[in-house]
């Protein structure tokens, strides 16, 4: 995406049909925004506000909605890092990374380097289920970055990890992103994580969500590792309009 067109998202309405005794449920209404190239946008909001649904729409996994998505290029390279690692359990970690690229693709030559970089050198020939969840998430992160994507979508990739492990993975993500900045849309309900990672925070309201906050994050890379600066910025962004 050398040209640098923004990603334009316009979702007029996304409704889940009534199923199993649940009423019809409109999760997204009039959600429109643009993401500039190499911007790290964090989508945040209470659970059930439709942020994962929005990501699935951008990824093309969910095509049943009113609106349109303009990815800014004819065929951008898009990668999704899921809420669960979604590695193939019957293939080793290294095989999982190799398989995520077409056979003979030059990017396959970088697989061992990125495995070393995310600290999986010892575990690369292990089956995913024989490693810890933290290691599986590292592998999923490596699988995402090895694609060298134009657009990187991430759906709460660090949930259900203990704090130090999650923190280690966030630092790894920042490190990977700094060495190859790419357009990111990152979904989380964790405000601290949002402020630490994002260059911009979009807040979705509960219910049939629309955007209720859109703020740039004013932190330098070194500020992001300092707890008090992160907390101060968190206060500034989120206290202007309290969570409902």
């Amino acid at each position: 995406m050398e040209s640098g067109n923004p990603v334009r998202i316009r979702v007029k309405r996304k409704t889940f049909p009534a199923i199993g005794g649940r009423d019809e449920n409109t999760v997204l209404r009039d959600v429109s925004f643009e993401v500039s190239p190499r911007e790290f946008v964090v989508l945040t909001g209470p659970s059930g506000c439709g942020k994962s649904t929005l990501l699935n729409i951008v990824a093309g996994l969910d095509t049943d909605y009113e609106g349109d998505i303009d990815l800014g290029a004819a065929n951008p390279r898009m990668t999704f890092i899921f809420q669960t690692p979604r590695l193939l359990p019957w293939r080793t970690i290294r095989e999982n990374l190799m398989l995520s690229l077409p056979d003979g693709d030059p990017r396959q030559n970088n697989v061992d380097a990125i495995i070393d970089r995310v600290g999986l050198t010892e575990a690369k020939n292990a089956y995913p289920e024989r490693t810890s969840l933290g290691m599986q998430r590292r592998a999923a992160l490596a699988r995402g970055f090895i694609q060298e994507p134009d657009i990187l979508l991430m759906d709460e990739p660090f949930v259900s990890l203990d704090d130090p492990t999650a923190q280690g993975l966030r630092e790894l993500l920042v490190d990977l992103w700094n060495s190859r900045p790419t357009t990111v849309m990152f979904v989380t309900h964790d405000r601290t994580e949002a402020v630490m990672l994002g260059t911009r925070i979009l807040r979705l309201a509960a219910g049939s969500a629309s955007i209720k906050g859109d703020e740039g994050v004013r932190l330098s890379p070194s500020d992001r590792t300092q707890r008090d600066k992160v907390q101060a910025e968190l206060k500034r962004i989120f206290d202007s309009t309290p969570e409902t």
Binding site: L61, F80, L88, P89, R91, L99, Q147
Partner: protein, 260 residues
Amino acid sequence: MLPARKLSPAGATAERLLWTLASLTTLVALWSLAAMMSDSRHLPGPMKVLEVLGQEFASGALWSNMSITLVRVACAFFLAMLIGTMIGIAIGSYKRADQFFDSWLVLFLNLPALVIIALSYVWLGTTELTAIMAVAINKIPNVAVQMREGARQLSRDLSEMAKLYNFGPWKTLRHVTLPQLAPFAAAAARSGLALVWKIVLVVEALGGHATGVGHQIHAAFGNYDVPTILAYALAFIVVIQIVEFGILQPLQARVMRWRR
């Protein structure tokens, strides 16, 4: 009571073998005892059966009958696995197909083997193909049911992953779909082999084939020749156990080796 001991894997295997050996020895001893107390024409002892087995082996009859039956077993087995797998995946993947064909499956599952065998010979005549078809048709519904279960449990998460990482149809089949079905196929194969080899003997006996273990047992039955019946039964059990432990179990262990 002795305190429980921790055994090394090798020790555990040795202990299991010991138990099996003790249990089989007891069975043979009971058999000998029963044979001594009854009319030897109705229940010959182990030595007599071994003697007949030796004669059949020496004359070449054992090998020729056994090999022809095993070829029939193999053909019917692979045919049933292939067709049953295709049917199972099709109805497991498409809800409409499942709703429509479910009653057919129930019908075929409950159709007595003897009915399928009899009708096969009536409709197709006594040919080699009939024997194989009759056995395969008996087995196909079981394979289909197990593979349907596998297809129903295919992970949506992984197919989305395959889609977003541009796996394409061939890579998806090989690395995403088939590994998920492999445990079901392995279970179907093991339960299937047990079924196929039992039915193949009935088919051979009823179809008037002039060869095969089933024919041999049928002929022996006509002469009240119990030692021959037992000799062939024994030989057959040994061969099927070799297939089970030598091929099927290692295969199953291999497809499951990634499990925690």
